[in-house]
């Protein structure tokens, strides 16, 4: 029904260089980009992540450095069993050295265990669960772009500080939604706010009017949307219909991507506040990357923060390989990645912590009014920068067994 392997379409083999001192297992550095290629998250991950990885390899000039890099892509259909099967086959038969992206936390958690068992490398950009660097952390994994804690912290704190001190949660009824609600509620309460109620909606949902009415009756100042993708889009669209924002309540999107804002439209989404790790229109380098990316993308979409994270993670992985000269021992490669400061065009300077958490600034954005937007992808304005030191969960609080107490 769905194409399992898109390797043929996505594979990019870069020619062999001269240096032979390096020890690439089977002669090639093989990058496996696995995500949702055909479903709900296909626009914000999908083929775009394969393109981002390819651009990173090109910019790194891997071929000139004697590194033969090959990229393959696959569709995990958001199912942990499908994803596990692909990763096992990739590692055992196709000699893939590093798994990249993997949105949908349930799939990422499954892949996390396989990669650890096989001693390969796992670079997460798409998945959100902060457990990946908490209780489930692994010496073979780096969690690159964002996580539930960072989103909750950025959005929750900013909103409570500007007066939004009573909250009602609209939560997707599965692990991800519960985690996001839990993390945000903790931030709200820590900053002096109060959670006055919550409702857990089935996932995925179509009609949220009933839940929105409950939120409206709660008189909470802020309605926190602890859901994602189509659920968030429909919640926001229907909240506008029911006059929730006009009535004085505000929405807080706890996980919003650029493709969601595009799908809702500025007319309805304007004023929405949320946290992201990267946006294309913040400086010239990012703008140039966005143009290249869009030109290479079959649907001409602009890159999401997940795409940018894939680019940045692959760049740092290749830099580490330059030092280790070998891709055989995944744990050693990740240890190298952690010991080197990160520095790439899109995310700038940063670090990777002991628990596998990549540390960088996060940004609080607001959706523009239709009159302020100058083009189809001109959607956000920057409200605040959350400095790297405050953006992520403190090392000691995650409960990662790798961290020595």
């Amino acid at each position: 029904m769905k194409t399992k392997l898109m390797a043929a379409a996505a594979a990019v083999a870069l020619s062999i260089g001269g240096a032979q001192a390096q020890q690439w297992s089977d002669g090639t550095i093989k990058i496996g980009v696995m995500n949702d290629m055909s479903g709900l998250y296909a626009d914000l991950t999908g083929i775009g992540s394969v393109i981002a990885a390819r651009l990173a390899v090109e910019d790194f000039k891997a071929a000139q450095k004697g590194m033969k890099v090959e990229i393959v892509g696959a569709d995990h259909q958001n199912k942990p069993d499908v994803g596990s099967g692909i990763v096992r086959k990739w590692i055992d038969e196709d000699k893939v050295d590093v798994i990249v992206d993997v949105p949908t936390s349930s799939v990422a958690l499954a892949v996390n265990e396989i990669v650890r068992e096989k001693n390969k490398v796992f670079l997460i950009s798409g998945a959100a669960a902060s457990d990946l660097t908490g209780a489930k952390c692994s010496p073979n994994t780096v969690h690159w772009t964002y996580d539930t804690w960072a989103l909750a912290n950025g959005t929750g704190k900013a909103i409570v500080k500007t007066g939004g001190d009573t909250w009602f949660f609209l939560t997707a009824d599965y692990a991800f939604g519960h985690a996001l609600e839990r993390d945000t509620a903790a931030v709200v309460e820590k900053n002096g706010g109060k959670v006055v109620g919550k409702v857990r909606h089935p996932f995925p949902g179509q009609d949220f009017s009933s839940f929105l009415l409950q939120a409206q009756n709660s008189k909470a100042k802020i309605i926190g949307l602890a859901n994602a993708g189509g659920d968030t889009i429909n919640s926001i669209k229907q909240a506008a219909e029911f006059g929730i924002v006009k009535g004085g309540q505000n929405l807080a999107g706890l996980l919003v991507f650029i493709s969601d804002v595009k799908a809702i439209g500025l007319q309805t989404a304007q004023g929405l506040i949320f946290t992201e790790a990267w946006y294309w229109d913040t400086n010239d380098v990012n703008r140039k990357f966005a143009e290249r990316f869009s030109a290479a993308h079959p649907k001409k979409v602009y890159p999401s923060m997940i795409h940018a994270g894939v680019y940045s993670a692959v760049t740092h992985y290749l830099k580490a390989l330059e030092q280790t000269k070998s891709d055989a021992d995944g744990k050693a490669v990740v240890a190298k990645m952690k010991s080197m400061p990160t520095d790439d065009p899109l995310f700038g300077k940063g670090t990777i912590r002991e628990d596998g958490r990549k540390i960088h600034d996060m940004y609080l954005f607001e959706v523009k009014k239709p009159a302020e937007s100058k083009g189809p992808w001109d959607l956000y304005k920057l409200r605040a920068t959350i400095p790297a030191a405050e953006a992520f969960r403190p090392l000691a609080e995650g409960g990662c067994p790798l961290v020595k107490k």
Binding site: M1, S38, G39, L40, Y41, A42, D43, L44, D173, V199, R200, H201, P202, P204, G205, Q206, D207, S209, S210, F211, L213, Q214, Q216, N217, G229, G230, I233, N234, K237, Q238, E241, F242, G243, G247, S259, D260, K262, A263, I264, G265, Q267, T268, K299, V301
Partner: protein
């Protein structure tokens, strides 16, 4: 004042009304399914995909031709009806004499193809569609804020449902249709073109789905998946109402919308499953459905 499990009567009225609005969609979609099953004996799994197509046609009209909501209410169902005629003429026609399963498999395959095509062309995250100018805003009813657009939807779909029921059960055309289902050879002998009648029935059924799609476009995200998440619920509605029963599908559509709405207040986590629980109970007690005739 009475309070039920901590829910105020005002909130309860609000939820009942919202349930009725959702029920309007279930009714319109299950009505089309019931008509197609009743007359053609085809379990039309492509119904959700055609509902989605209706919404997308409305978006395409607005995006590329600047044609707004009101003309789209007419144009999108017509466009989908033409697609329906093509499907019936080239594919479904050959399956009438075979087991139901063949029609189900064919339409299920078609649904996947149509969804895949839209996803390939327009992506999975969906497209924006605004509520038409004239229906923006809403009324404060005291117990809830009722958007004007939802009020329009519930009135319009009730009118459409009753109109369809009247056409099939009370007019001469409807009588031909029903007769053609019972005994096509005899009706043909009276000089009525039965194959054409069936083609138009299918076209009419899928046009209803497209109409529901256009009406849904301003309320839910216009995305390729919007049909597949609804179709299963609508099938449950048809089974509960009784396969092929037109009045049954209308009454159960609205009724289940209300029951689902109440579940969203008292036990929100179960609101997606409550309809299937009811379906299981109905199948155990009255296998032909609440309004169906035992075969």
């Amino acid at each position: 004042m009475f309070e039920l499990l901590g829910v105020s009567p005002q909130a309860l009225f609000g939820q009942l009304l919202l349930g009725l609005i959702n029920g309007a969609f279930y009714a319109m979609l299950s009505l089309g399914l019931a008509v197609i099953f009743g007359m053609l004996n085809v379990v039309n799994f492509a119904h959700g995909a055609l509902y989605m197509t209706g919404a997308f046609v409305a978006w395409l009209l607005l995006e590329f031709l600047g044609v707004g909501y009101w003309p789209a209410l007419l144009i999108a169902p017509l466009a989908v009806a033409v697609l329906g005629i093509a499907i019936e003429r080239t594919m479904l026609r050959w399956l009438y004499k075979l087991d139901h399963l063949y029609g189900l498999l064919l339409t299920f395959g078609l649904a996947l193809i149509v969804e895949g095509l839209f996803r390939n062309e327009y992506g999975s995250s969906g497209q924006p569609y605004q509520i038409p100018e004239t229906l923006q805003g809403g009324q404060n009813l005291g117990f809830m804020f009722l958007p004007n657009y939802r009020a329009w939807v519930v009135v319009a779909s009730l009118a459409i449902c009753l109109g369809t029921w009247y056409t099939i059960e009370r007019t001469k055309l409807g009588a031909y249709l029903r007769a053609a289902t019972e005994n096509p050879a005899l009706v043909q002998a009276f000089g009525i073109n039965v194959p054409r009648l069936l083609t138009f029935t299918y076209a009419g059924g899928v046009a209803l789905a497209a109409l529901a799609g256009v009406m849904a476009a301003p309320m839910v995200n216009v995305s390729p998946q919007m049909g597949s998440s609804l179709i299963i619920i609508v099938f449950a509605v048809v089974v509960i109402g009784g396969m092929g029963s037109i009045l049954g599908s209308i009454v159960t559509g609205f009724g289940l919308g209300v029951i689902e709405g109440l579940t969203k207040v008292f036990f929100p986590e179960a609101s997606n499953t409550v309809i299937f629980v009811i379906m299981a109970i109905v199948l155990l007690i009255k296998p032909a459905g609440l309004f169906g005739r035992a075969a």
